[in-house]
């Protein structure tokens, strides 16, 4: 069964949110399917958190509909919200209370969360030993873990994590990745992770959506995105005479040459073409001092899509 045939776990339809005169989210629509990890990618201030906050009930959308697990958030608020779990920005809880008590209080607001389930999630995030300490004694990473435990407590159908790796140590990131993958692939949870870090998204997600200036720019599977990015990489060729090399290459790769320096030349070509390119240069008498693959291809692609990166208005 392909993803498109499944009933979406989360549907966001034509959602718009305006703060004052600024359109923070502009007519965004996308679906989230059970069993997938969806990466929500965008520079700071792009509207990721605003969308997440609308889904989680912090903001009311000015326009548009949010449907969670088949329930319209507006008309069936509690039914819709009981299928969702997550962390928005940093996980904040009642600092003077213990982690266990915090979870117990949260569990009370959901139906059918047992004591055993609380122990289970504490075990899952590796906090069983320190569950009875007050949260204020926790490090940021531990808070992230307990936040994750809270988000998973009621076995949500949709799990939304806003920049979840903030403050996590490598072991924590590894754990998070395992947990998310497990949730999505084994338990069929629809997971949405937002981040401004490409590397993170790359290893965790099945599908990504790129957002900037409140507009959803692209949705594609991570494989497509990587392929698309890998098909054109920037190579830096070190040569004694870049100007001459540019002349030689411009016949064939005119618009692919992105930069010329004192002793280097940057060219954006596909991997297969590099051989031919070097050969052309050598045969026309240029001396090649080195060839280096430049920036991460994904970032380049990302910057291209988002129009050059950070825009804070």
């Amino acid at each position: 069964m392909s993803e498109q045939e499944k009933q979406p776990a989360l549907q966001i339809m034509n959602v718009t949110k305006t703060f004052g005169k600024k359109k923070a989210v502009d007519n965004v629509s996308f679906d989230l399917f059970p069993g997938e990890v969806f990466g929500f990618l965008g520079p700071n201030g792009a509207g990721k958190t605003t969308i997440i906050k609308m889904v989680m009930g912090f903001f009311r959308p000015d326009e548009g509909t949010i449907i969670i697990n088949g329930y319209n958030r507006k008309t069936h608020y509690e039914a819709a919200m009981s299928s969702i779990g997550g962390i928005v920005e940093n996980p904040e809880m009642y600092n003077s209370l213990s982690a266990r008590l915090n979870l117990q209080m949260y569990a009370r607001l959901h139906d059918g969360v047992t004591k055993e389930r609380i122990d289970e999630v504490l075990e899952l995030v590796g906090l069983t030993d320190r569950a009875d300490e007050p949260i204020k004694k926790y490090s940021l990473g531990m808070k992230q873990r307990i936040g994750l435990a809270q988000a998973l407590l009621h076995r949500p159908k949709v799990l939304i994590l806003d920049e979840p790796t903030n403050g996590l140590d490598p072991a924590g990131i590894h754990l998070l990745r395992d947990v998310l993958t497990h949730c999505a692939h084994e338990e069929g949870v629809a997971v949405m992770v937002s981040s401004h870090l490409l590397s993170e998204i790359q290893v965790m997600c099945d599908r990504i959506g790129i957002i900037n200036h409140g507009k959803l720019l692209q949705i594609c599977s991570i494989d497509d995105f990587v392929n698309q990015a890998q098909s054109a990489s920037v190579y830096r060729i070190k040569t004694s005479n870049p100007a001459k090399a540019k002349e030689i290459l411009s016949e064939k790769y005119d618009n692919k040459i992105t930069n010329v320096n004192d002793d280097t030349l940057d060219i954006e070509i596909e991997e297969e073409q590099i051989n031919e390119c070097v050969r052309t240069l050598v045969s026309s008498g240029s001396d090649i001092l080195g060839v280096q693959k430049l920036e991460s291809s994904l970032e380049e692609a990302f910057l291209e899509i988002t129009g050059g990166g950070i825009h804070i208005e």
Partner: protein, 522 residues
Amino acid sequence: MSKLAALYHNEMVKLSHKMLVWILVILMILTSFCMPFLLKSLIPEESGSDYSEFGKTEITKERDSAKSALGDPNRYVDHETLRFTVDNQTVEVFATKLNLSEDQFYQYEQLCCYNAILANYDFDAYPITETYLSANAFYAYRMAFEQLCVLNMESFRTRTNEWYYNYVRTTQQLDLAKEAFFYHDYAAYLKYLKLSDDTNIGSNILSSLEKVVELDPEGKLSERETTEIIEAILRCNEYKNNLAMGVDNVDGTYVPLTESRRTQIESRVKILEYQIDHNCLVTEKVSNATTVRQVAQKASRFILVILLIIIAGSSISQEMATGSIKSLIIAPVKRWKIFTSKLLALVTWVLAGSIIITLITTLSTALCMGPSSLPPYYYCSGGSVMTMPNLLFSFLFFLADNISLFVYLLGAFTISCFTRNTGIAVGVSTGLVFCNSSFAIIEEIFGHERWIDFLPFSNMDLAGKIFPYFDLSGYLDAGDAGLFGIGSGNTLSLRFSLIYLAVLVFILLLTAYDGFVKRDIP
């Protein structure tokens, strides 16, 4: 509903884990318990000494000092015109010409009088300073004696018909006072008063004394008790007079009697008459105990107010500041339920605080003043006088007084929801609470103007309006006893105040609701 209950449960868990809450609760309990003991030590002790011995010693002392100055009154004074005789019971004083000064003459008279009392009076049976009849008859006896002396100082040559009239009357008075005093005879005392009626004692008091004689023919009630009965009867009579004339006495000014006031005053008369007949008027002991408890309640409430304003003022804004509101917003509960659960938690604290304070202050007042000093509340329903148990009434009265507290808390809560700033919410509402207690100044500056009625402060003092007969059970008005309310002089009707407060509460709730439920959470 179950979600609301769960939220409410969570609210209580959160509050119960706050150190500040426990510190203030313990402080409140300590204040409730210790305050009555502290206050009791401030009330002047009743003299615990033997009344009869006290009276006897006083009289002996006065007699001896006069004796040392003037000599033995039983001897014939070696003077051509002056002679005192003292027989066993009657003292007659003759004087034709006076070489003694008026002061000395007066002292001679006192000496004779005291000699007679010391020789014949039964101090053990009727301690002079204790029972009403003994004390007053003693005074009457001395006055008549003195009057007779003064009359005797008149020289024979200048004595007129008027002198004879006065002389006859004074000897009658002396006889009656003697009867009343030495034989503890109320009837004689009443006759003495009737004889003196046109000169110094109002017929009102006379008729009230007749009632006292009816209630206490033996004259065993203490002076204080009898005075209380007389005052109650006088008050009853005044009410009856006012009812008959159709006027109402408000702070010494007479205004036309309204229909509701008429029923109220008729009820007051009934309650007073019931209390007189059943010997359950408010004694000094009772009113002391009630005042002690009320002041202790208000002092403890002061701590409760601080505690609750902090809770109310921080309930929403604090969660927003720390971000813990997130776990409430993410949960599948509608926002109005979060809002309502917080309000319910607040109401619970007001109620629980009131119950705790009432219970502990009652316990500790009963411990230090005796349980008998806490009588029931008397009220009039359907034409007959009913009573309400003391503890219950004390709680309800305190609660009615706390309606204003609740309005302030709601104010703090609203500001907290609206500004989302704990500091502003707590600061402004604390300021308002203090404003209220100094509100009376506004009336002093501007006089009573109509617009003052529409200030919240004028409508906060409800306890006295809901329980109009509180003073008949020894309670003090809110304004006189404590933190809230501006006390007497406020003639707004209960209905006006209730409608005013209902509108105020509605506006506050609406603002708070809008501030929290409708707006986005940043």
